[in-house]
């Protein structure tokens, strides 16, 4: 991805970032920001770039960051730096910065940020819903309908249409017949659930009530679908006897930064329906339901540990 911007756009984007994080950022300013974003595609690109870098920065939120980055130079490097200044760096110019690694999906047709869901009606009447941190490209033409899942998770109500609907994941392309499906991308496979209708790959169907891993080789580990797996479209996280560590990994998808627990409470079991829109409240609910306490080192670095009685 191209991460070079004109200095004017960069300065404006930084101005808006800092204003939007201010404690006095109000509705009128929010609208002005929207206005600025809509005015130019370059503005959106610069804004998306900042968000992407911030996502990485929040991933490192931890007490070690300050300690590490404030380390003074060692004597050896101080000598080397001094020598470097004496020689001058002009002849070594043009060997500067590498760009950041682009995340997939930044330029996707439809994307949802961390902690938010999106609902869109496609041109053929199908309903596309995106879960947290997800991205999808959609290409419909006279012959076929193609939906590409770039990252994250989608639910799709496929409308009847003469054209086939192909769902592409990193592993390959599935054909979806009209019905309701849930597809989530993992490392190396995607998990496909068929609530109604039928999904097929190379003539092999996955039937209503089934779920399976989809890899480049086809279906694997076919099993009855987990009825809780589609609850996110209603904004709920439903657990039944889930290990706390798995529950937090799931909840962590909806939050910025790190969320985890100490080993001593990892195997506690969690059951119940939790509203996804307020993950802080879910943490409070866990403190009531389980012998744990929430420990916050920073806003983006949260750990659950045993409650001291």
């Amino acid at each position: 991805m191209n991460t070079s911007f004109s200095s004017q756009v960069a300065e404006q984007a930084v101005h808006w970032l800092i204003e939007s994080q201010g404690d006095d950022f109000d509705q009128a300013q929010q609208q002005a920001l929207q206005h600025w974003l809509l005015a130019d595609h370059e503005h959106q690109r610069a804004w998306a770039h900042i968000q992407q870098v911030n996502q990485r920065l929040r991933g490192v939120a931890s007490p070690v960051v300050h300690a590490t980055l404030q380390a003074p130079p060692s004597p050896a490097r101080r000598r080397a730096l001094k020598a470097l200044l004496l020689v001058g760096v002009a002849s070594a110019a043009g060997m500067g910065l590498q760009s950041h690694n682009p995340l997939p999906g930044l330029m996707a047709d439809y994307r949802s940020p961390v902690g938010q869901r999106r609902r869109t009606h496609l041109d053929d009447g199908s309903l596309l819903q995106l879960n947290t941190r997800s991205a999808v490209d959609v290409r419909f033409d006279g012959q076929q309908r193609v939906v590409r899942l770039l990252e994250g998770e989608l639910a799709l109500d496929v409308a009847r249409d003469a054209r086939p609907l192909l769902l592409r994941t990193a592993e390959g392309a599935l054909q979806l017949h009209s019905g309701h499906f849930n597809v989530r991308e993992f490392e190396g496979f995607s998990l496909v659930s068929v609530f109604s209708g039928q999904a097929s790959f190379a003539g092999q169907p996955l039937l209503p009530g089934q779920r399976a891993r989809f890899t480049a080789k086809g279906w694997q580990a076919i099993a009855p679908l987990d009825p809780n797996s589609g609850a996110w479209v209603d904004g709920m996280l439903v657990a039944s006897q889930m290990r706390l560590t798995d529950f937090l990994a799931e909840l962590g998808r909806y939050r910025q930064g790190q969320l985890g627990c100490s080993e001593r409470v990892a195997d506690l079991r969690v059951s119940g329906s939790y509203p996804l829109d307020d993950s802080e409240r879910i943490l409070q609910m866990l403190e009531v339901a389980l012998p744990v306490r929430v420990r916050r080192f920073t806003r983006y670095w949260v750990t659950l540990e045993p409650r001291l009685s």
């Binding site: 200095s7 960069a10 930084v14 404690d23 490192v60 050896a76 080397a80 470097l84 806003r299 983006y300």
Partner: protein
Amino acid sequence: MPSALSSTVEGLYHAHHSWLTGWLRRRLGCPQSAADLAQDTYVRLLQAREAPQLVEPRAFLATVAKRVLCNHLRRQELERAYLQALSQVPEQMAPSEEQKAVIFETLLELDRLLDGLPPLVKRTFLLAQVDGLGQTEIARELGISLATVKRYLNKAALRCYFAL
């Protein structure tokens, strides 16, 4: 890649490689790292946009090699500081091995981008964008005015997001 560049670098390699390795070894005291950094120096040269005009090839090589050497030393420094900081973190808070590696790579990059900024500007930026503190909280914590917080954030953000 422009062929003028690669043939210049190839020429430098043949004529001065053992000199450069020796030069680095004297500064590092470790033959293994010296050989690695000599390679890094040539890789760095190959990433240039155009072939350099060489009047004094060894002075030129030394300039680039010093850059590489500085980065290497800084990386070691950060690694030491990072491990030291990690050892202070309570065990149950410690990141997994995989997270540690990812965090360290991001730290290296962040350090490079923020290099040269005054410590207080860096700290303001980290508190805001990494720790998620509000601007008023930061002003209180650092004992500076809100306007100063915004000015520091602006300065560091231009560097960090846009290398300006």
